[in-house]
């Protein structure tokens, strides 16, 4: 019996299967590439060959694509990534006090006391210093993103890079390259700048108390871990499944939801063969002019998103889809 967690993020879509004891049995990491539906179907195709739909006792979704994926797969729980990440971290270690989470397009800090979240913050007006930016810089320097961290560790000194804005950081990096600094020094400088930006921006007014967990895709970068440790002055832990924490949390939340309710809504792995189409339109009902997205499975509407008044949202549940 397994619990499935699905985390549809901006950059990656993660699927995990955990067992009763929260051992990770299966993990799938896919690039979302702006097509969450395709990514989920791709993941389900892989799972379908190995497991039977009946083996899944609960399904939970999280991440920015949690609503759409929940409609698609029939999730038991739909939770935001902040809750999911903290639940997963607490499952691993109940004395964790701070979670640093840097994902594809957002970064968060979560502070925990006595096993409950007491505070959190998320980047508001800027995404400089998140995974996408590192990805882009790795591409520009022609270094595989996997090796990015090793380069940073090689450097003996760090070059100061302006890290407030991703675009200016890039121009600053180019400038430093043209001055003749080598790649590894610049990469280390970049890691330092990102950490500085994170601490000054997101952690303003928040206390960072050890034990600190560093999770999310960017935790794969050893240079970032080192830079955090240098700035904070104590060790930063990276959990084994750092890039799957959101999905693990989603699976755990689904597990407790199903325990309360008794049965799962899971639609089965076969949805990987269905044909999903989405089209959007501007609702003309009032001057709000909501952009409504309609998702259909094999031409049957299964969900509407984006309206404020609930006129479309409630359609499917009321069984009125034929009138649409």
């Amino acid at each position: 019996m397994y619990y499935l967690g699905v985390d549809v993020g901006s950059v990656s879509t993660d699927l995990v299967l955990v067992d009763e004891k929260t051992n990770v049995i299966e993990k799938i990491y896919l690039r979302t590439k702006g097509k969450p539906i395709n990514a989920i179907q791709e993941g389900f195709k892989i799972l379908k060959n190995k497991y039977d739909s009946n083996e899944i006792k609960a399904v939970g979704t999280t991440g920015s694509g949690r609503q759409i994926s929940s409609t698609l797969i029939g999730a038991d729980s739909v939770k935001n990534e902040i809750t999911a990440h903290s639940i997963a971290a607490l499952e691993i270690s109940n004395d964790v006090r701070t979670i640093i989470e840097i994902g594809g397009q957002d970064s968060k800090i979560i502070t925990i006391k006595d096993g409950i979240v007491t505070d959190f913050a998320m980047n508001t007006v800027c995404a400089a210093g998140t995974g996408s930016f590192l990805d882009r810089q790795a591409e520009r320097l022609d270094i595989p993103i996997e090796d990015f961290g090793d380069y940073a560790l090689k450097a003996k000194t760090s070059v100061r890079i302006a890290g407030r804005c991703a675009v200016f950081a890039e121009s600053d990096m180019i400038h430093k390259q043209q001055l003749g600094y080598n790649d590894s020094e610049i990469i280390r400088g970049l890691c330092d700048a990102l950490v500085r930006n994170y601490l000054n921006n997101i952690c303003k007014g928040k206390e960072i108390v050890p034990k600190v967990f560093f999770q999310g895709g960017v935790a794969a970068n050893k240079g970032m871990k080192k830079a955090f440790e240098n700035a904070l002055g104590f060790e930063v832990f990276i959990p084994e499944n750092f890039n799957m924490m959101g999905a693990i949390g989603a699976a755990l939340i689904a597990k407790s939801t199903v325990k309360k309710r008794g049965k799962t809504n899971f639609k089965g792995f076969n949805i990987s063969d269905s044909k999903f189409t989405s089209n959007s339109f501007d609702c003309e009902g009032c001057s709000n002019k909501c952009e409504v997205v309609k998702i259909s499975e094999n031409n049957n509407p299964i969900g509407y998103f984006g309206d404020r008044c609930g006129k479309w949202n409630n359609k499917v549940f009321d069984g009125l889809e034929n009138l649409a």
């Binding site: 935001n80 809750t83 008044c309 609930g310």
Partner: protein
């Protein structure tokens, strides 16, 4: 003369009642939407705050429908909104619109004579006698108070409702229906009906919903479009929300300022953290945060537009209050770039935090 005005929450209903009562022609700009924001952002300075942009959007959309006179309230205050009327006059003139502005400032700033002159200008097109003019004003205030009360009840009872969504439905229906009445007396009668309705919505008194106080910059807390319909979302989640800043609060507060007996509770509550008025509604925000704790709410949410000076000050004080009183407070910054996904995530996570926190405290006690 065809009057228009910027949107701010439900204030359009009160102004409609006022103009109907006076018999002046008016245009209600389309309810704030993507288009008004787009128009506003296009013509406004980039760094100016969200309220300014939305107001410009409102004006231009109303001008397209034939409006030629704009009424707004000024405050000559230390918050830049007090100077917006001047900037907006210049901006619209540059864009080639020929308009009249009637700015209703508080009499302490412009003198009672000047205010009277401006009000006369506003009512000059009305043929009614002075008694009827006062009656129209009185009715408008009544409409404003009623709709604010209805809204507050809906937000509160949303946490207790037996049928999910009933409060939201009544509130939405009320707003749509109110526009259908062209006689202030009838509108008031209808609003009173809705007030009865919302106060008798079937509720489960045994429910113990999460209670959240909402505070911050006055425009962004009142105008739902600017805060991405935060209060509607809280209603959907079954959370009871409380907001002190309303148009009726503002009118009452402004009227009492000369006597120095305005918002005594807020002044008292903010005393330890921000005893001075630093502009905007920063002191109110701090006071309300403390009051939220005293009322026994689970948490508080502060909303302000990016670049709002007074609220930036209160934002940096709030963590101290949160720590001292052991109550979570979240700050949300909004501007035209605000992505809805991140916004919802934060609100959801905050409600989650409050729920889990409460479960935990209950378990241990």
């Amino acid at each position: 003369m065809k009057i228009t005005f910027p949107h701010m929450g439900n204030i359009y209903l009160a102004i409609k009642a006022l103009c109907d009562g006076l018999g002046i022609e008016y245009v209600i700009p389309p309810i704030n939407n993507k288009l008004s924001l787009e128009i506003g952002s296009l013509h406004s300075p980039e760094e100016i705050c969200l309220p300014f942009k939305l107001m410009i959007g409102n004006y231009i959309q109303a001008i397209e429908q034939g409006a030629d006179t704009i009424i707004i309230t000024g405050s000559c205050g230390p918050c830049r909104l007090g100077e917006y009327c001047e900037m907006q006059m210049k901006l619209l003139k540059k864009l080639g619109y020929d308009l009249d502005f009637i700015v209703l400032d508080s009499p302490t700033d412009i003198g009672i004579k000047e205010l009277y002159k401006r009000i006369i200008k506003l009512t000059s097109n009305s043929r009614d006698n002075i008694f009827n003019k006062y009656k129209a004003l009185f009715n408008a205030v009544k409409v404003m108070n009623l709709i604010d009360e209805i809204e507050a009840s809906a937000h509160k009872f949303a946490g207790y409702e037996k049928i999910k969504g009933s409060c939201k439905n009544i509130l939405n229906q009320c707003k749509t229906d109110a526009l259908k009445f062209d006689k202030p007396d009838e509108m008031i009668k209808m609003l009173k009906n809705y007030k009865e309705k919302i106060n008798h919505v079937s509720i489960d008194i045994n429910k113990n919903p999460i209670n959240v106080g909402i505070m911050g910059e006055i425009y962004t807390v009142i105008e739902p479009f600017s805060n991405l319909y935060l209060e509607d979302k809280l209603m959907d989640y079954g959370v009871s929300s409380y907001r002190k800043l309303t148009p009726s609060w503002w009118v009452k507060n402004t009227a009492l300022i000369p006597l120095k007996i305005n918002s005594l509770d807020i002044k008292r509550a903010s005393k330890n953290y921000l005893p001075l008025n630093i502009g905007g509604h920063a002191r109110e925000c701090i006071g309300e945060a403390v009051l939220s704790y005293e009322e026994g709410y689970d948490g508080a949410i502060q909303i302000f537009p990016m670049g709002c000076m007074p609220e930036i000050v209160s934002k940096s004080i709030l963590p101290t209050i949160s720590k001292d009183l052991n109550m979570p407070i979240m700050s949300l910054v909004v501007d035209e770039m605000t992505g809805e996904a991140g916004f919802i995530t934060r609100v959801e996570a905050f409600i989650d935090l409050l729920e889990r926190r409460r479960d935990n405290v209950l378990l241990r006690s």
